[in-house]
Amino acid sequence: MRRASLLLASAAFVCAASGSAFAQTLVYCSEGSPEGFDPAPYTAGTTFDASSKPIYNRLVEFKRGTSETEPGLAESWEVSEDGTQYTFHLRQGVPFHTTDYFTPTRDFNADDVIFSFDRQRLEDSPWYEYSPGISWEYFNGMSMPDLIDSIEKVDDYTVTFVLNRPEAPFIANMAMDFASILSKEYADQLEEAGTMELLNQQPVGTGPFSFVAYQQDAAIRYQAFPDYWKGEQPIKNLVFSITVDAGVRRQKLEAGECHVMPYPAPADIAALQENANLEVMEQQGLNVGYLAYNTQQEPFDNPKVRKALNMAINKQAILDAVFQGSGVAAKNPIPPTMWSYNDAIVDDPYDPDAAKAMLEEEGVTDLSMKIWAMPVQRPYNPNARRMAEVIQADFAEVGVNAEIVSFEWGEYLARSSAVDRDGAVLLGWTGDNGDPDNFLAVLLGCDAVGGSNRAQWCNEDFEALIQEAKILSDQEARAELYEQAQVVFKEQAPWATIAHSVVFMPMSKNVSGYVMDPLGGHWFDGVELTQ
């Protein structure tokens, strides 16, 4: 049965891809294999690029190239006065993909919305653990089980989410990958056939591209969905050619074996920019890399000591040595591309002499401390060890003796969360939904002490501001509060904010209409190929 369906799919694809039609095939050299095609059980961007972005839609979408939201499968929504009820009015006439494994008999409606969320939150749903070991990490990570009280179908095209408390970022959450809308009709069909695990292997959505086939660790094939509710795509086929090594991706791009590649090696960027056949797009990533002091331990409980240490760090040297041009210095805990970024804030100057004097003034002499260096590469920190070494040298200049320590990644994350942790931790964050709350509350809120708040910092003024901002639905008012919160942050200096990465996207000059996503995703709707 599966072989027959693959044969059919391949025949269809070959017909579409053969001859001149292959010219309308966009090849994307992706950096890794997707874990599955149901986005909700996963947290990795690579998986989302291959699943939620091409195949699915959400009630709310991010506007192309921004972290602002716009209507998606919901045409509009209302929020009750107390901010606890969100009523979504659904778009009508949105069809699901017809594939060789599924033919829909009805358009998208409220049942699909309820199915897509209930499977993640109701433990008695047959879909809650539809495949061995499946779990809903993002849904849980965004505290959705505590937040959502119930989801009610008002009619076929109206759904109300009842929340346990007002939460302004809720709309932005609805645009996230885990909130992708799946077909209940398809799920029912799989359940009846006893092949529920196929939901994660043969996806059906409403998005711009429908799934054709996945050859494990080699390639993923999609074709443009002719009945896509926003109109058919300019390209006919989309292929992800999985190419793990950045150097090899570059060779493939230059040899014309793919049109677009993500994540070039920093050392290759200059050469790629010089290649006349290529264009290299760039954008600041929605992330921040930081050094978090343990503000509950002496002498780091003193904001002046933290401030002095921040002044001892030569950020430019870090940008040169670690980011090699693919980063910008950070002065705030949120990136400049995010709304409410407070550009009026002046960064602490690099001034080792003043730093030393400040430390002496606070009675800190002969300080020995630990700097934790992450064992993995992240966009916000491509080489933590090297970064730690630069900071170590900077601290030595002001008379602080720093020792670099590291642990295996899982261990690192667990140990660095501990309130009694010894030393300052290098870490960072990449935004989930473009909402400032997703940085400020997650990383610096009082609730996150002992968890993702690695500075173990709980400041009354800061907390009051972010809590107030969380329940307001007016974005301008929220932005004002967040701007003030950034002022408090800068005065108190629980972190040394180090850098925001710059993301590069080299692509063939034949590609037009590609828009970089500040949230780090890769989208191919609206992209054209010219010959």
């Binding site: 391949s10 095939t25 494990q216 060779q251």
Partner: protein
């Protein structure tokens, strides 16, 4: 011969048990927690962590986990990947043909070039050919695979444009997998140009993966030949007036082949290690890359299952090599 066969087979069972213990212990000795890694920087609250531990069965005592695991193995259940949620066995057999195809090509490449080169070097001992061959072999043996692969790609694919950069076949071709071997499937597909594309994609990875075995085989053949050529019976054969071809091909080669076959058998392990890097560079969808990804994610079921399956295959290969000794050298089977 039957007794020899049974005695070799008898060794396999305790070895296999040993492998399951090592594979099971190996991933657990590594620091790192697969459950925590699921959440990354986002972290996980302790209740949820506990719940997932129970869900995966990692809250149970270690011996119980092992027992459960072995019982599963005996029923052919290798568990499901923590990351992709698919059965380990299904993933292994999807990817293994790619590794096998590449490995076979690499070993054929190494044997077809290595053995004649070694024989010639031995026969022409001390000549420029001998010195050049051994020099190249030593260089090949010392070459880091990662660097060698990238160098070949930059030269042959990037600069000269002779070979494709990576993958198993051009993306233009898309047909269902029948055997898992791309060269065979491309022929079966009947699509013009597909077979050629599959072969073109094999060239560079074969050379890269085959380089170290080639160097080892050439050196081993040379030294084994030299030893045999100095034997009395070879001198006798020559004295009898046999042609040099017959002396070398019939009398010397057959005896020199025993250590060479051992070496080839041992190269299977080397090939598996080399496949990890080669597959990563050439985006070759095989089990090498699959294992590396799984180790970094602490995907216990995949690492355990992969180790057991790979070790099982290497054991089988060694068994076949042992049996082949018996065929080539009667003294071994009668010992």
């Amino acid at each position: 011969m039957l007794r020899f066969f049974i005695s070799r087979l008898g060794l396999i069972i305790p070895t296999f048990i040993g492998i399951t213990i090592v594979a099971f212990a190996f991933v657990r000795v590594l620091p790192g927690d697969p459950v925590l890694l699921l959440a990354g920087e986002r972290g996980m609250d302790p209740d949820r962590y506990q719940k997932l531990l129970v869900q995966f069965g990692y809250d149970r005592p270690i011996w119980e986990q092992y027992f459960h695991y072995v019982m599963g193995l005996l029923q052919g259940d290798f568990g499901n990947s923590i990351s992709t949620k698919r059965p380990v066995l299904q993933e292994f057999f999807t990817l293994f043909p790619a590794t096998l195809e590449l490995g076979l090509c690499a070993i054929i490449f190494a044997v077809v070039i290595g053995i004649p080169a070694g024989i010639l070097a031995a026969v022409k001992r001390g000549s420029w050919f001998d010195q050049a061959t051994m020099g190249i072999a030593l260089t090949g043996y010392s070459m880091p695979i990662f660097w060698w692969g990238l160098l070949l790609i930059i030269l042959f694919s990037g600069t000269l444009g002779w070979t494709p950069v990576s993958g198993r076949i051009s993306l233009m071709y898309f047909f269902p997998s029948v055997t898992g071997f791309m060269t065979i499937d491309s022929l079966l597909s009947g699509e013009p140009g597909a077979f050629r594309s599959a072969v073109a994609h094999l060239i560079l990875p074969t050379i890269v993966l085959g380089t170290i075995p080639l160097a080892v085989i050439a050196r081993q053949t040379r030294s084994a030949m030299l030893e045999v050529l100095a034997e009395d019976y070879v001198r006798t054969a020559r004295a009898k007036g046999l042609s040099p071809g017959r002396v070398i091909g019939l009398h010397a080669l057959r005896n020199a082949m025993i250590p060479v076959i051992t070496t080839i058998g041992l190269q299977i392990g080397v090939l598996m290690a080399g496949a990890i890097l080669t597959e990563t560079i050439f985006s070759w969808p095989g089990i090498g890359k699959w294992m590396v990804d799984s180790i970094s994610r602490r995907d216990y079921p995949v690492v355990q299952g992969g180790l057991v399956l790979i070790a099982g295959i290497i054991m089988l290969v060694n068994l076949v090599v042992d049996l082949m000794y018996g065929l080539i050298n009667p003294r071994i089977r009668h010992r």
